[in-house]
Structure formats: structure tokens, C-alpha cells
Symmetry: D2
Subunit: 341 residues, 4 copies
């Protein structure tokens, strides 16, 4: 197969390109950049590619469709929706890493993203690809979930689907490394500001809240809201979502553990641990590690869900979705070692 990446210069595009190069089902990767006018050597756009001989083509939907079997959008929110139309019209396979097609309601998108939304009937064509828990019903436009959303939803699914917890009690304290803040220079990602520091950001305004809520509600309509807060921590990669929920009376620790193990029994990527996992165990991989800690005094359960935000939270899950769509093995291109030590 031949695949296209649009948006190679951002972090997600870069990681995606690295992974796809090893995918046994792909023989060629064609690179495009939405803001180019003419073909340009990759190393001019991103100096880390010095010594590679690869050109990047300008965006041209007809060309892309003609020369590829699928396209990955690694373009920013607000940009993707402007480029997606021809692919939707042609029912061409798209894996979209941006947030533009994750919400089904344009008005809600505009409320959280502060950008113009795609039309609601376009949004309706997309499939939210939480790859470890859902199966593509045959849709060709896949909205790849957000990084926080992935770690939170994988951590909450067994509890919410089975109605084991008080749906009003969900408190999520999520921590992310700086790669989540992207390549764009900003004060909060200036080394001096972020190093030796912790920074809570976008309180109650994070774009992943509606995406998480939509999925939770679909699993269990009793879930009406979540308290979700994000903190920047001075590491490069990784997300830890510390999820606090009040367990319903009568639900035991053993029942909870069993539920998690059942839900993820056959998963190649989600693993339930007997200890509380740390970020180091997942960075570099497409895995989600989950640990549980029940407090019999408070009846709160802590779910500790960790992922690599760039892989499971972006490029890796995109490949999972690609594999599902084209019936490749789930872990094609995703047999990865953690970055240890």
C-alpha cells in the first residue's frame, strides 16, 4: 500500500512517519504539506531530517487520492476541516489525527475550539476510533481520539459501561509532558518556565472534555459531567491520568479488577497491572497501562492510566485505526520497545 501524510512538520506527523516506515503493509509513504507551493526537500522543513533524501509535495487532493490508498491528516485543528471535503466526497480512507471531526455537533465544536466547524452532515460521516474498544462499522473517515481522551476513556470504560460507580463522582487529574503542548513556541513551554515547575492549564476549558463526555454518555447516559483538570509536568512525553471515582455500595475491589481484566482480556495494548504503573513503562510504545487502588475508608477508587501521548495518544492509535480499516493485524507497525532506561 501507499499512504499519504499531510502535515509532516508537527510532532504527531514526525512520529507517525517514523512508525509508518516500519509498517510491513506499507511500501511507500508520500509526504504533503498543506502550506507549501512547490515540492520542497524535507530537511528544509525540518532540520532533523538532514541526510535523508525525501521531498514534500504541496497539498493537492486529486493527486493525493490518485497516488495513495489512504491519507493521514496530521494537520492542526481548524486546518483539517478545510481540507477534508474532497476526501469525504470520494469516500477515500482518512485517518484524521486532529480534533476537527471528533465531535458530532458543529456548535459544540465551535464552543470548545473557538474555530469554525465542519458542516454537521460532514461530521456525521466520521467515526470516532477509540481503537481498543470499538470496531469500525465500515466508515472511511476516522477521527482519531485525543491523547487525554484516550487515557481517560480506557481508564473509565470498564467502570462506566458496567455502572459500577457513582456517575456524579468522576474527578480526573491528568498530567502531561510538554510534547502535548506542541512545537509552537509559547511562554509555558519555554524551558525556564516549564522546567522545575508544574503548571495547571486551561482549567475546565480543555478541548478533550466534550470528546470524553460524548463517549461516556454513549456508554452510560447517567454520566452527566466530569471534573477534568490538566497539569503540565517537566517531561517530554507521557500522560498520566489519575482518575478518582466513588464506587457504588456493594462493589468490591475484586469485582472491579475482574471487570478491567475481562474488558481488556484480548487487548494487545491495554494492560492491567498489580502495581500503579509509571509513565516510563509506556513511553515509546502503543500501550496503555492501568493500575487500580481502592480506598476502603473513602470508597474512592483511583484508576492510574498512563500512555505515551505521541503514540497511543496520537500516531500509534492512528495506525491501529488504519490496521482495523484495512484488516491488518492490530500490532502491525506497533511492536515497540519502551524507552528504558
Amino acid at each position: 500500500m501507499q499512504v499519504a501524510i499531510i502535515g509532516i512538520t508537527g510532532y504527531a506527523g514526525m512520529v507517525l512517519y517514523g512508525l509508518l516506515k516500519k509498517h510491513p503493509g506499507i511500501i511507500q509513504i508520500n509526504l504533503y504539506q498543506h502550506d507549501l507551493i512547490e515540492p520542497t526537500p524535507l530537511e528544509e522543513l525540518a532540520p532533523q531530517y538532514e541526510n535523508t533524501n525525501k521531498a514534500v509535495q504541496p497539498y493537492d487532493s486529486a493527486e493525493i487520492i490518485k497516488n495513495n490508498d489512504a491519507v493521514f491528516f496530521a494537520t492542526p485543528a481548524g486546518v483539517t476541516s478545510k481540507l477534508a471535503q474532497p476526501f469525504l466526497d470520494a469516500d477515500f480512507p482518512v485517518i484524521d489525527l486532529s480534533g476537527d471531526f471528533r465531535l458530532k455537533n458543529g456548535a459544540e465544536y465551535e464552543k470548545w475550539y473557538h474555530k469554525p466547524a465542519a458542516d454537521n452532515d460532514e461530521l456525521a460521516k466520521s467515526y470516532y476510533g477509540l481503537a481498543d474498544l470499538s470496531t469500525n462499522p465500515g466508515k472511511n473517515y476516522i477521527a482519531n481520539p485525543g491523547c487525554y481522551a484516550t487515557s481517560v476513556l480506557l481508564g473509565l470504560a470498564p467502570l462506566v459501561q458496567s455502572d459500577l460507580i457513582d456517575p456524579d463522582s468522576i474527578v480526573i487529574d491528568a498530567k502531561s509532558g510538554l510534547s502535548g503542548a506542541g512545537k509552537q513556541l509559547s511562554e509555558s513551554s519555554h524551558f525556564i518556565q516549564s522546567n522545575e515547575n508544574l503548571q495547571i492549564y486551561k482549567p475546565n476549558e480543555h478541548k478533550h472534555i466534550p470528546e470524553i463526555m460524548a463517549q461516556l454518555k454513549q456508554w452510560n447516559p447517567k454520566v452527566d459531567h466530569i471534573q477534568f483538570m490538566t497539569t503540565l509536568v517537566p517531561i517530554n512525553r507521557g500522560i498520566m491520568s489519575s482518575i478518582y471515582v466513588k464506587v457504588k455500595p456493594g462493589v468490591t475491589e475484586a469485582m472491579i479488577k475482574e471487570h478491567f481484566e475481562n474488558v481488556y482480556h484480548s487487548s494487545k495494548f491495554v494492560k492491567i497491572y498489580n502495581h500503579l504503573p509509571t509513565i516510563k513503562g509506556v513511553v515509546g510504545t502503543n500501550e496503555c497501562h492501568i493500575g487500580l487502588s481502592y480506598n476502603p475508608t473513602t470508597h474512592y477508587l483511583l484508576v492510574d492510566s498512563v500512555i505515551d501521548n505521541m503514540i497511543k495518544g496520537a500516531a500509534g492509535q492512528a495506525i491501529q485505526n488504519f490496521n482495523q480499516l484495512f484488516a491488518f493485524d492490530a500490532d502491525f507497525g506497533l511492536q515497540l520497545n519502551p524507552v528504558l532506561p
Copy 2:
């Protein structure tokens, strides 16, 4: 005045010594070490003191009482209680940075500390010195609060004292730098393990839980439990306690803000901010910065309370307690600049 420090080689003792050297009310600091047999040059015990000419004396309670006006215990939990008797007997001024006299109940101490407790009547003689919120009733034995406890109690006091929140809803996600884990070598504080990582530790077993609970219950007996979790983050100094509480119906954001400002109006060290404070603003100082973020959808309030664990969470608050006991100005020895940039 002359003061003694017992336990100069640990992190808290080191910071305390540095601060006391600048205290305008102190003319001499005498150093003692509980496990010494004979006087020893300080630089032999701690190489960072090379080029200072200072000796450390072996522990001798009679000598200490004779030559000093007050003593600071910077000894580990389990050690202090074995050394404290003569000072309690003599009603000699003690500021105790360890956890040995914070709990009033020996059995509870042993449950959480896994070490033998002091006698209950000894414990009864001590005063829990949460210096920004309480006034020493004239007791000479001051138990200096724990670092997490300080940041949590200062963040919760206005809410709990005034009954503004659902007392069953308190969830605390506290993050600490590695200095909180002490000087002792351990796997979790090995650079390779802690750097580029987040580690949840001692889930539901942290020693500061009973200390926090005892104070909260005293303020408001309706508080029956807290969900308290601690995560090690790869920074040297600082604690951020992210405190989540459900606000009672009818309580508005403005009322909450006002309460915080009233409670800390005259405080030299606790400051209420309009934004969510970060750790960098307090490291190096004895300040506690508090920010608030109310979520009208979930009715949860986030209290973001940050301190320098070594100063406000240990040596600085010890000096505050010392100042109170001897009627010095609250900020003697504590006019400090944050470590910026």
C-alpha cells in the same frame, strides 16, 4: 539568642541552618548530631560544607539545654521521640520538624508510621503549629506540620471552617518534588527512575493523612475522610496540592474568593491569586500561593495550593513557629526571594 539544631545532615536540617544564619534574633547556632560519639567537623558529615569551619557536637541533652535557648529537631521520625523526653521534662522550647509529635494518639501513630510512638501523655504536651492559622497557646513543644499537610490544610481551611463544601467530596491529588523523598538512596529517587517519569506512591498510606484529618475534624467535625494521593514529579523542590471539593448549593464563586481573602487577609505568607499559581513562584520562599477555579457545570472547586516543601513545608514554618514562641516578627529570617528564573 542561641539555638541548637539536632540533625544537620538531612535536607531539612541543612535548609534550616541556612535560614537561621540570617535570622536577626539569633547570634549563634550550635549543631548536634544524634549519632555522633565525638565532636566532628561539619564538612566531614556533609561535603557541601567544605571550607566552613564549623564543628558538630554529639547529642547531650543537658549540654544542649545549658547552652541554648531553644532546640530544633531535624531528626527522622522514630528518632525524635527517643530524644525528646529531657526537653519535655524541662519544658524547654522545642521545634520538632519530624512527625513524631504531630498525632495525639500513640496507637494511630504506630498504625501510620510503623514505629513505636511516644507516650500519650507526652504527645499531649505538644502543640501542632500550623503557623499561619493558629496561635501557640503557650506550649513549649511544637510539632511542626508535614509538608503535604501544610499545603492541603492552608488550601482547605477557609472552606472547611465555614462549611462551604460537601465534606464527603474532598479529593486531593498532591504532587511533590524529589527532595520530599529525602537524602536516603532509593530506587524511586534514582535519577533514571524518576527523571522523565511520574510515580504515584504510598496510595492511601501516606503518613500525612491522619495529621490532615485530625486538623480538619477539629475545624469541622462533619469531615469524615479525605481521598489523598501523592505523585512524585521530576523536580527538586515544591509541592502542588490540587484539591477538588464539591461546593454546597447556593455557595457562589465570589463568596468563596471572599472567604479565602478574609482568612488570609493579614497573613504575610499565604497569598490568594487570580490565576492558578505555579510552583516556581514559591520555591525559595516561605509563601503559600493559592488559586481557585470553580466549575459551574460540575460544582467542583479546584484549590491549587503550592509551597516550597523544604521551607514552608519544613524549615521555614519551623522558624515561623520559633518566631511566634519568642514573639519575634513573623517574617524574621523569612524575607526570601523565589528562585527565579
Copy 3:
């Protein structure tokens, strides 16, 4: 005394302001900003000053001269020289933290700084204040040395002044934390780029090279060149200069050590160590720690010279120069504890 700071919003200005507030000889600090039009609350210019009530005035040389006894320029290179004229004309005391008056030759300044230089006769009025090694001959315009220059010159002085080394053999590998790169956002100080990385920068083009050379040549005309290279390391503060020099035949390790001890015998800030000092011992202080390691096989000597780039390398040395000018004790305002742990 009353003193002025021009340029409070940069890192050096911020640190300087913090230190001057504790200086026992100063009763008021007036803040000015060269690019302001009207008085502005400090916290609007720099959010870390929230909760302080301090205004910043626009730059007005006549006002500054009228209301102050001395002025500190913490303005960038290229800016200072444009503002300095009235102060030079009035022979008003200036401590200039920028690089604009460190070189005596305008053409050389322009070659290294790529900015217009001050006139040569203005440059001639300034005094290069390497405070631990020279005494102000009575000049009111003090050019405060650069951070790298300070660590290198203090490390080389005893060797170069006494002609103990091969003057052609000087190789300096200097490492600096990111605060040295300033507050300005840039790719190399983006957290993701600088964290978990080492970056050599400005090879053979660093502005401090001519400043170091001028001083070395003055001490010993045989020194014709130095090989000086700088590497950014992922820490906030601190410089380590690893200085390699070939020792002349017949010069012994003991002779070298003795020379260093003699030169810095009475210094309050420069200390010679028996081990190789690390950065942690000096961050937060105005000290320079020096260690020596002689290799009898290669006849190379390593001089390990470490400073806090923001204090000894900027604001602290500026205060030393201020103290010299006004005959205060050398360590007024500079009795500081290292940031340990």
C-alpha cells in the same frame, strides 16, 4: 541610598531587584523601563509580581539622575549604549549589566555584537569590573562582566598572571543552563528541544570571547587566543567552565594549588576546593567555586570553575561593583544560601 533599575522585566533585572531589596545600604529601589510611555504597575509587565504594589516608570534620564544615587542598567546589549549618554555626561554612577561597554574598541564590538557600538571615547570612560580581582580606579561607569567571562577569568587568572601555562594551549569547554539564553522565546530554549538534550551553540562566535581575551592579554600579553566553546545543558541556572591548559615544564601541582590559594586568599566569594565542585554548590549564591585536576601523563590541568550565571555572572557581581564604588562591605546584600537540596 536610592537606586534605579532600568530593565526590570528581564531575568537579570528580576534577580537584581530581589537582591537589592535586602541590601542594608539601600532604602529605596526605583524601577524604570526603557520602552514604557507611562507609569505601569509592575505586575502588568511581569505576572510573577502579582500581589506586589510597585509601579514602573518610563525611562527619563533627568528624573533618574535627580531621584537616585546610582543606576543599574539591566537592558539588552544594543539598548544600553543608546541610553547611557546622559549618565556618562553627568559622571553619574552606573552599573551596566549589558555587554555594551565591556569592549574598549567600537569596531571590535560591532564585529562580535552585530550592533552599532557606542563611541570610542565613551567606551574609554567605562571600567571593566571583574570585582574579585580588580579595584575600581574611581570610574563611575562600570561595565559588569559577562557570565561566561566571569567564570573563565576567575579560573584562569592565577595561571595567566603568573605565567604558569603554555599560553597557546587554552581550551575552554563551558556549559550553561538555559537562563543564560534569556527570556526571549526561541527554538533552542523550547522545552522539548532543550530537555534531554545538549546543544553546542555559537561555535567560535560567542560575544564573551573578546571580553575574555582583552582581560587575559592585559594580564599576560603572551596569550594570543583561546579556544572557547559553549554548550546549553538542561538546567535552569549555573555555568561550569571546564578549562584545559598545558602546564609549563617544572610547574608542579602543589605550586598551582598554592597560587590559586594565594590569589583568592582574602576573597569572600572565590573558593578553592579539594574536589571538583559541582554547580549545585553555587546556585543561589555569589560564589565561584574552583577545583583543579592535574594529569601528570598529559601535563594538562583541568580548572573546574562554577558560578550561578544570574548572580555571580550578573546581578550579584553588579552589587559587588556597587559595594566597591560606594565603599560598602563586599558582601552587603550578598550573604546568600545555595539552593540545596
Copy 4:
């Protein structure tokens, strides 16, 4: 092929195991541990392997030889030499990641390693496998080079082999991340000590000095000594060797560049850059990136040579040597992406 790893619990063994699992020529990896008495689940020895079902066998040379086609020693220096005899006797393929067989002279080994050496005739059987520059003459016992040695030798080879530099002028300032210091707890790798710090260590006593010297002398007998110093920097992985050499009169920058490009023209792993490479470009890969900066004033050349100490400096080069020995493609198992962002 089936291969054995002895010493899976150290950092090098862990990385090696991860890489070998993807090697297309290997169908099974058998794990052994020299200090085990009975078969033990891997996750008991190293908790990061929870959820894998892999057993580790006790060391038994006969069993290892019977069941494997080659063995990798990832055991510490001083241990390997005690275990190697049966493999040498059987002329069984060994790739030895320890330092025990890198030096040909037992007395020199003992001087630098402070441990008993293997016999000189055993040492003579081994081949020093600097894989990018030498070809195995058919020896079955391969001593894999040290991490620093690899980065230094690859950086110096084109200069030393072609006699382009003053052989007396070699000064190497090498910086390493903490993984180089190993898994063993120690004060210098305690987070609080190493974070926000730089630490020069083992001045003039580093074990890699004789290994580098032996190779350099073999290339060019005029090289009599090197000045080599190592500094610990607060990153997990990576080595940057800043190599300073005085270029001979008449040698131009262009000649140097050309030499480097010729020497590494056909190398899959050593790449010459137009800029000065940083560590981030190589971490996660088996590559060595080299940049050059010539100073026409001082006639010094800086060679900036960066590698991932765990891969090119250990496990990756071991696999290169394995590939050479068994005539696999050079990059089998070594097509790796850098850890970016």
C-alpha cells in the same frame, strides 16, 4: 538462530533484549542470569517485565552452548572474565558488552579496573569490535567497545588515521546522561544530586582511556596521550564528546570535511552533518552523528560526536558485531527511529 543473553537485569541487557526481539534473523532469545540458582520468572527480577511470560535460567555454560548459536554477555566488568573460559575453550561466538576483554594487557586492565584480569592468552583471543571501522578477522570472541570510546574513536579516526592533527593536542570533554552510571544506586545518581547539576567524575581515571589509547596508537603510533574528562549531565540517555584538536599547518577545513565524508561514506550509522548535532537526533538509534567546527584563529577543530550510549554505545553496536560475525545485513535489528519529540 537462537541467542543467549547473560545479565538481563542491567540496563544494557534490557536494551539488548528489546532490540534482539525484533532482529529478523533470531527466532528465540534465551535469558540467563549469572547469580541465579533456579529458573525464575523475569518479572521477579525486573518489575518492568510484569505481564510478560518469560523465565530466566541460571548460568550453565554447557547448557548455553548446547541451546544457542551465540551468547551476549551483559554482565559487569570483573564478572564476565570469570564466566568466559568455557566459551573461549569451545571457540563459541561471544559478544561481550563488558570491559573485561577490551584491553590486551592484563596488568593494564588491573591498573584501570581495580579487579583481577583474565589471562593474557585469553585476552589475546578477543577482537575489539569497533564495528563501523573494522572488520572481524574471524574471531569468535568480540569485545564490544565502551560507550565513550565509541563516540571518541569515531570522532577521531579520520583525523588520526590520516595524520591531520598535532597528536599532542587532543583534549576531549565528554558528557554523558545518567544511564551511563548504571542501575546501581549511588549518591551521584540520586535525583536531587544529579538534577539541575553538572558533575565531573573520575578525572583522569576513566576506564575508557586505555581502550581509546590502544586503538588510537594502532591507527597512528605518534599519539602518545589524550586529555579525557567526563561530566554527568541531567539527562537519561546520550553521550556528547566534544573533541578539540589542533590541526596541522596546511590542513584546510575542506580537507577535513572531505576526509570525514570519505571514511564514513558507506557507513549506515555514522553521519557527517553540516551543523553541530545534538543528542536528541541520535537517542533511540544506533547512529553516530558528527559535526565539525574549525576555528581559523586558534587552528583548533571541534569534533562534536554524539551517540546513544545504550545503543550505539552498547547494545546496538553489539548487534552490529553479531551481524558482522554471522554475515547478516549491518542494520538487521537496528532500523530505529530517534526518540523525537
